[in-house]
């Protein structure tokens, strides 16, 4: 998801492959006006990439664009531009970064402008702000918009009503809209092929995530995880590239595991795993490396995270895209995305991670922008502490607005937390490492 890190780290084949995939996708997006390919925009939670592929459309994900701009330290300006245009300081900074970006020509990482999307696929999954985001883009740029309402699983289960509703919308709203925009007739067998590839990639992806159950963990499942979720969450799920990527990645991680190696960090291999953490909440993008450093320099490894489930949950209940039930499994995929699950379900998931991944502690990175993740995190924290007896920490940052990341603030809380665990270990208190 970023060119930044690759420059300074050993060039693992999987990283190089991902970098190439991303670059190629941006190339295709920016040359769409010439090639005539149609561009769909959608969201990471509820990303129906396999379906978009059926219509030979390209997939542009504004959240990813915001992340790219955040990591390249460009988002701050974009957000301020959007605020000058009348958008409130209180609302999501992804939206403002996107609006600010588009207002100034939406320059992609390759330096070329990205076209206004031909179709806004409003996958209303797990986040209220998504609804308004595309309404705002439509208001500004007049884009054709297709709404896919993915109901929130308020009781923690997917009901037939919910699944049927989503499937019907796919059949009668989304697919016709895509046919109209692309000029390509829907072929369900193409979808099945794509879904088959998705499932294959998902198997390897889950294997990689679960490698962190080992001690020491060969991966960091939050900062490192951000790279591992790239292809499966974005424009590549369903492609052969993604299948290949995850095979390569799995091989790399298998080797690390066999050699007892810790995760790669921007400063080399993490040699001494001192703290195993489960983390809830998205990372900060504008100070990503500095933020990661505060962890790895203390020997803190994230063994499981909820953010790596935001674009789809494949590990917890074993969900796979299913070519035999193409539209139904697309619906179930959307309904099962992390932020579309109710709070008790999220707490249960975190509790199982704490146990299965032998965590020493739980950390919440509370994001100012994101009410979907954030509202209720304080209660989740206390609940996890009660259920697992492990200590929890709470830090506050933001996605892509650099004004809301205060290094001293974050470092102080993190250091205090790690020292707290350390002292407990010495004193033999409940926070003892297993």
């Amino acid at each position: 998801m970023s060119a930044e890190m690759q420059d300074d780290v050993i060039k693992e084949p999987s990283m190089l492959k991902q970098k190439a995939m991303i670059a190629d996708n941006y190339e295709q997006l920016t040359s769409a006006p010439e090639t005539g390919r149609k561009v769909a925009a959608t969201y990471v939670p509820g990303n129906l990439n396999e379906l978009i592929m059926c219509f030979d459309m390209l997939n542009n994900l504004p959240e990813i664009n915001a992340i790219q701009n955040g990591m390249r330290k460009k988002s701050g300006r974009m957000i301020q531009d959007a605020e000058k245009m009348g958008h409130s300081e209180d609302v999501c900074t992804y939206v403002k970064a996107d609006i600010g970006n588009m207002a100034k020509g939406a320059i992609a990482p390759n330096g070329k402008p990205m076209p206004v999307p031909d179709l806004l696929l409003l996958s209303y999954t797990g986040c209220f702000t998504f609804m308004k985001w595309f309404e705002l883009l439509r208001d500004e740029y007049g884009c054709k918009t297709a709404m896919l309402h993915v109901p929130y699983t308020g009781d923690g289960i997917i009901t037939d009503n919910m699944r049927d509703y989503v499937v019907k919308q796919l059949k009668e709203e989304v697919i016709p809209a895509m046919e109209e925009v692309s000029g390509v007739k829907f072929d369900i067998d193409r979808l099945r092929e794509n879904l088959k590839r998705s499932a294959e990639a998902e198997d390897d992806f889950v294997w990689v995530l679960q490698s962190a159950k080992s001690k020491p963990s060969p991966i960091d499942a939050y900062f490192g995880g951000v790279y591992y979720i790239g292809p499966i969450f974005t424009a590549f799920r369903g492609t052969q590239d993604a299948v290949d990527y995850y095979k390569i990645l799995r091989g790399e991680i298998e080797a690390r595991l066999a050699n007892g190696q810790g995760p790669i960090t921007p400063e080399g291999e993490l040699k001494e795993e001192r703290y195993r953490l489960v983390v809830e909440g998205p990372p900060n993008w504008t100070s990503f490396r500095d933020f990661w450093k505060m962890f790895h320099e203390e020997g803190a490894v994230v063994v499981a995270s909820t953010y790596t489930k935001v674009g789809g949950v494949y590990d917890y209940d074993g969900f796979r895209h299913d070519p035999d039930r193409p539209l139904e499994s697309l619906a179930e995929y959307c309904l099962g995305c992390y932020t579309n699950r109710n709070l008790p379900a999220r707490v249960d998931m975190i509790e199982s991670y704490m146990n299965d991944y032998q965590a020493d502690g739980f950390l919440v990175n509370s994001i100012k922008s994101c009410n979907s993740f954030s509202a209720g995190q304080l209660m989740m924290m206390r609940e996890i502490e009660t259920r697992t007896g492990k200590p929890a920490a709470f830090i506050e940052t933001d996605l892509v607005d650099p004004r809301y990341f205060s290094p001293a603030n974050v470092k102080n809380r993190l250091e205090s937390y790690f020292q707290m665990i350390e002292q407990k270990r010495k004193g033999g208190g409940p926070a003892k490492a297993a």
Binding site: N412, S416, G427
Partner: protein, 431 residues
Amino acid sequence: MQCFIGIDLGSTTTKAVLLDEDGRILGRGITNSRSNYATASAVAKQEARTDARMTLFRRSFDKAVVSGNPDAVMEGVELAIRREEFLGQLQDLKATCRSHMKSEADGLGEALDEIFVYIEDESETMFAPGAERKSDFFRDLAGAKFMQKGEEVAKQTGIAFDAILNLYDKSIIDVENRPPEGGVRSMFKDALDEALIGAPDLEVDAGKLEAAVSEALDVELEETYVVGTGYGRVTLPFPKEHIRSEILCHGLGAHVMYPETRTVLDIGGQDTKAIQVDAQGIVENFQMNDRCAAGCGRYLGYIADEMNMGLHELGPMAMKATKTIRINSTCTVFAGAELRDRLALGEKREDILAGLHRAIILRAMSIISRSGGITDQFTFTGGVANNAAAVRELEKLIEENYGKVTINIDPASIYTGALGAATFARREAIH
């Protein structure tokens, strides 16, 4: 003797605490924080060492007293030492100011001389027994007198006050950042002799007095282990293993002061923290409010400015309130506006202030709530803990929401962090 030192680099003040082998507090030192962290640490540490010597002397001096009250002598010695230190830095300031003068011609030299002579003379009253000083920091004491006399001299001589002030501004930081020399030894004997002369009713055993003096001065205070702490300091002037987070230091310090405490609230100038500690003083949970001024001491500072009052006057005035006024702004920026609104509506200052104190405590209650609530005993530290009106609001809210809880407040709570750091130092060395 083995000593363990903790140094807390706060945003406004730097504190040091010195413990003996048994973990008893021997000395405490405090100075204003400054740009050079190493110097601030050194000054605070030196103050603590001086204080330690005084403590050692006091212990033995008591044994040497045959009849009469030794308190006046103790005070006399301390004051004399403080005065000597002050005069020493004053000389430094004078020389540094002169060195910044471009030429002798424009009468600045004479102006300076007059100012400094005045301050030297004033020092006797400043450090007289029973004298009240708003602060013990050189910058505050010398600065205030310098300004006062400087304005006078400027008027008399016709020299621009700015020119005089300029010399001060250029010099004060350098003077502050020069590490302290030696210690108290040289001044001590003279100070003691003078103090004894001034207390004819006191009868002492000469031999035991001799022993007391050598105990105080000759014992080596070995700095066996030093631990530093401080929030927001990008680089603390200590090696990494010697640094502890200020939250942990604070929790442990509170535990040392009150071993039964389980919940600690600190309202500092720039942040507020709620800490839960276990029976060993180790932090189990904490929450901070460090992004927002509301709920910190700064809030009161802002209010004091708005009302044109001294910070220390707010509490006493609020205590006179006869009515509860609800101030709803939790934002410092708007609290001033709401305050003005109320005054315009005819509300009394006392009542408004009581409402403002309640507002700051309500914020603190939120943070406490997030950290896990209040478990008996509850310790309240930080500058705001010395504010009677704040304490009153806190007591009310605690009783309403958590029932009967023992509330511990120590006037020396500003040293809590440094005490915790020193305790960590001792624990580290002993294991």
